[in-house]
Amino acid sequence: MNPLENSAAPYLEVQNLVKTFGDDRAVDNISFGVPQGGFVTLLGPSGCGKTTTLMCIAGLHKLDAGEIRVGGTLYTSAARHVFLPPEQRDIGMVFQSYAIWPHMTVAENVAYPLEMRKVGRAEIDERVNQVLRLVGLGDMADKLATQLSGGQQQRAALARAIVSRPRLLLFDEPLSNLDLKLREQMRIELKRIQQEVGITSVYVTHDQSEALVMSDEIIVMSKGRIEQRGGPRDIYARPVNRYVSNFIGVANMLDGVVVRVTAPGRGEFEVTHGNARVLLPCRLGEGLGEGSSAVLSVRPEDVRATREDGGNPGFAGEVLQTIFLGNCLDCRVLWGTFEWKVLAHPRTWLRRGERVFLRLDPERSLAMKP
């Protein structure tokens, strides 16, 4: 296959996928593509349809409408009545419960996909050893699955998923059963191994920081639909709506009106909260013009709180609460009736009841459709 052609068309193609359970449209007409070797994360709360989408790609669910292609091969199509059974899809999958078979040793678990592909015994042994070393279980081969810790089972499941060098790797919230420290460590490691083997991957999680750390591209889902897709930085900096902004990280959200467009994509935003009223220069999201009501989203780390008047006397508030978190100071500042979340430098010394001035960076204040 011509590598140029390859890069032009996405390797995994999901088109107009619909999956219903009774009256519930779990996945409601979504489409996306993943380039070869790419790492895409489906992110959303439980019930948003991300796992159902994954199951449809795996062939463990039948879809009601749409098509799925991998590397140009049609895997499933509702309209054309094509359904490739899961075992013929050449996909590796890591499950939430790891699904390591308790009646087999680690090596037997990992060798299983190769046995199914009728690989010779000698080659199986060699590849199993190789992949176990890769995931850091080199000396665990003969342990029973039940003797492994959670993190080790996780590694074994990964080894089993990649040992046959499948076309596609699917991850269904693989880290959610691990404790926080281990989870943070495994994120990095999972990403390293995926990059090493270079298999196109789809990763499902509800954990936004996991998605930010690991993905080339994030697809934020809600109620069976795609809300936004883009690179991690892009999604963090330019959420398209209140839902995405809330889901990825924390944001101050203020309702108001765009009063003036100063330049393409730039404007002024008027916010009223109780007696407080302020005009803020900001970036404008798509589809906003003069007079449109909108939501202003500002990340807590993009708000500066100082004792000195920053030249905008109307924008002053009272410190309600400060929480020292080690690497930063989490403050709540009351302005009118609105409570600002502000992340300040840990060495900032703000006291409760103190009067402070808030300053925003117009480049990091984003007005978007409500």
Binding site: A58, G59, L60, K62, V70, G71, G72, T73, L74, Y75, R80, H81, V82, F83, L84, P85, P86, E87, Q88, R89, D90, I91, G92, M93, F95, Q96, S97, A99, W101, P102, H103, Y112, P113, M116, R117, A157, R160, A161, S164, R165, P166, R167, L170, V197, G198
Partner: protein, 582 residues
């Protein structure tokens, strides 16, 4: 990187809408589903239809009508049978509940000595044959030849008798002691699984031990007790062996013994039998439905997977009284009857008292050495046939059970709900009712008069016992274990063989042995469906007590009980207590 090519035809060809449905999984599961549905529904359908066909006076033809049901209300013996069945089931349920709940509480919640061993022993009566138990108690406490009555005459010089089990009270007594373990099973699990903090928090509010037990513990296990009571009532009303031995011959017929007289003999009237079976079946099925749909969902102490260590109450020196009580039950339910059977079996002719000089194993020789001319064929046939039936029946039933539980728990939609329902129906109908239906369906076919008809009826009636064993494990193991095998490239059948079945192994073994035990002692189905040559163990015992003497009957009873005890021991090594709850 080498990537295994997926066949391009998937993309090229244009299969029809239905082609996608023809998979290994769908073919095999729908085949099994249809077979089981046919096996379960045909006999019931035959009963419904048959009960509305009225036999004409000459007994040659029949026509549609409600006369069977009118006849039931008119004939006084059927009215008596109905009343007797109700009295016996109620009495046995009350007695069995008192015994079962108290034993369960002593075992689960007190420091009664020797508890670990009593646990297994308390379940033994549940596995023995109540029919043999009735024979044993007849030997112990019939007015004339009862061992205990003779002992009393000899020791105290009493005249007449002090005990008499040849009446409705005897039926209640024997039914109750053999069904007490059923209530015990339901309650002991519930008591053990209870979160101790529920009681602890009651104690911290100032409630005393007695008050906590009455206001917290007992209400929490009430659904389990009620479940046990309903199932005991259903089982007692379907019980055939005990009333057949102790009730019917002494003027206390029950529904089951009446169905039996309509099913066999020269005056057989299948249509009347069907009408009576329907009546009994509808009542029992309704009760099982109530237990499953209304009481089971209200169980507060369902399995959470959490290992609770229940509060143990220190009985002080009363613990020895508790031990005595428990041993007393075991003495009455196991040791005394089996001992009496054994003593009787050693005499060539039983006259009601021991004659040490005449004790011999001759009876065992006549029953076990089937090649000898003096052997009793129906009895020796019975031993062989029962082992064949138990072995093949348990094997086939477990295969069905695996398929059924797989379909119920691993496929979604309408089909799995239907199948779940299919697995409950046989539990709702007493063996003799189902046998009556099987008889009507298959009497004209070549399988009548062979072991096949028995095998079919056994499996249809009892496969849910096996299904429960496999289902409970299937519920506990994640579906992802199967799915990851499919994703590894294994087909459905390979996944079943390499992953699902190996994981189910403990449940499969436990279910198999349980079914083996049930089939080895089965009476009500066998007695309706057997013909000369296809006798079973229990039918052999029936034959001996009808046409031979008490000693030979007891001998075969001892042999059956020993075989059952060995199986119980094996079962216990394989399975936990939970696997038993019917």
């Amino acid at each position: 990187m080498k990537i295994k090519a997926v066949p391009e035809k998937a993309a090229g060809s244009q299969p029809t809408r239905w082609a996608g449905l023809v998979t290994q999984e769908n073919l095999i599961t729908s085949f099994v589903g249809l077979m089981v549905a046919a096996a379960v529904f045909l006999p019931l359908l035959a009963l419904i239809v048959g009960s509305f066909r009225v036999l004409d006076v000459l007994g040659f033809g029949s026509e549609w009508g409600l006369d069977n049901y009118r006849e039931m209300a008119r004939v006084s013996i059927i009215r008596a049978a109905f009343l007797n069945t109700f009295v016996i089931s109620t009495g046995a349920t009350i007695l069995a509940t008192l015994v079962g709940v108290s034993l369960a509480w002593l075992n689960a919640r007190t420091n009664c000595p020797w508890r670990e061993n009593l646990e297994l022993l308390n379940l033994i009566p549940y596995f023995l044959s109540p029919f043999v138990g009735a024979i044993a108690w007849h030997n112990l406490a019939s007015p004339q030849v009862g061992l205990l009555n003779n002992l009393a005459r000899w020791l105290f010089g009493t005249t007449g008798h002090i005990l008499d089990v040849d009446n409705i009270w005897g039926v209640i007594w024997v039914t109750a002691i053999f069904h007490a373990p059923l209530v015990y099973l339901f309650v002991v699990g519930s008591l053990r699984r209870m979160d101790p903090s529920l009681e602890d928090s009651a104690r911290t509010t100032g409630a005393g031990l007695l008050r906590t037990t009455l206001t917290v513990t007992l209400p929490l296990v009430a659904p389990a007790i009620l479940s046990g009571m309903i199932i005991t009532f259903v089982t007692s009303s379907g019980e055939f062996g005990v009333p057949f031995k102790l009730g019917a011959p002494y003027g206390y017929p029950t529904f089951t013994t009446q169905i039996f007289t309509y099913a066999v003999g020269d005056d057989a009237n299948y249509q009347m039998g069907a009408a009576m079976s329907m009546t009994l079946g509808i009542i029992t099925a309704l009760l099982v439905w109530v237990q499953r749909r209304i009481i089971l969902p209200r169980e507060y102490t369902t399995v959470t997977g959490k290992g609770f260590r229940p509060n143990i109450i220190d009985l002080g020196s009363w613990k020895w009284a508790a031990l005595g009580y428990n041993l007393g039950y075991l003495f009455i339910a196991v040791l005394l009857p089996l001992g009496a059977l054994f003593l009787v079996s050693l005499h060539k002719v039983w006259q009601g008292y021991l004659i040490p000089s005449q004790m011999t194993f001759a009876n065992y020789e006549r029953i076990l050495f089937f090649w000898r001319p003096e052997s009793i064929q129906p009895a020796t046939n019975g031993i062989g046939n029962s082992f064949i039936l138990a072995f093949s029946g348990a094997t086939i039933a477990m295969i069905l059970a695996i398929a059924m539980s797989y379909m119920i728990h691993r496929t979604k939609g309408f089909g799995s709900t239907m199948l779940d329902f299919l697995c409950v129906i046989p539990i709702g109908f007493p063996g003799i009712v189902l046998a009556m239906g099987v008889l009507i369906v298959y009497i004209q076919t070549p399988i009548y008069g062979t072991l096949w008809i028995l095998l079919l009826a056994y499996i249809t009636r009892f496969f849910p016992y096996g299904q429960r064993n496999t289902s409970s494990i299937l519920l506990a193991i994640s579906e992802e274990l199967d799915q990851s095998s499919r994703m590894s490239g294994a087909s459905w059948l390979t996944t079943l063989r390499r992953i699902t079945i190996p994981l189910l192994k403990p449940g499969i073994f436990a279910g198999w042995v349980l079914l083996f035990i049930v089939f080895l002692r089965e009476l009500p189905i066998s007695i309706i469906l057997y013909t000369a040559g296809t006798e079973t163990l229990s039918v052999g015992i029936y034959y001996l007590q009808e046409f031979e003497n008490e000693s030979l009957t007891s001998t075969l009873g001892v042999i059956q009980s020993l075989a059952l005890l060995i199986c119980v021991y094996i079962f216990r090594r394989l399975a936990g207590r939970e696997a038993l709850t019917a």
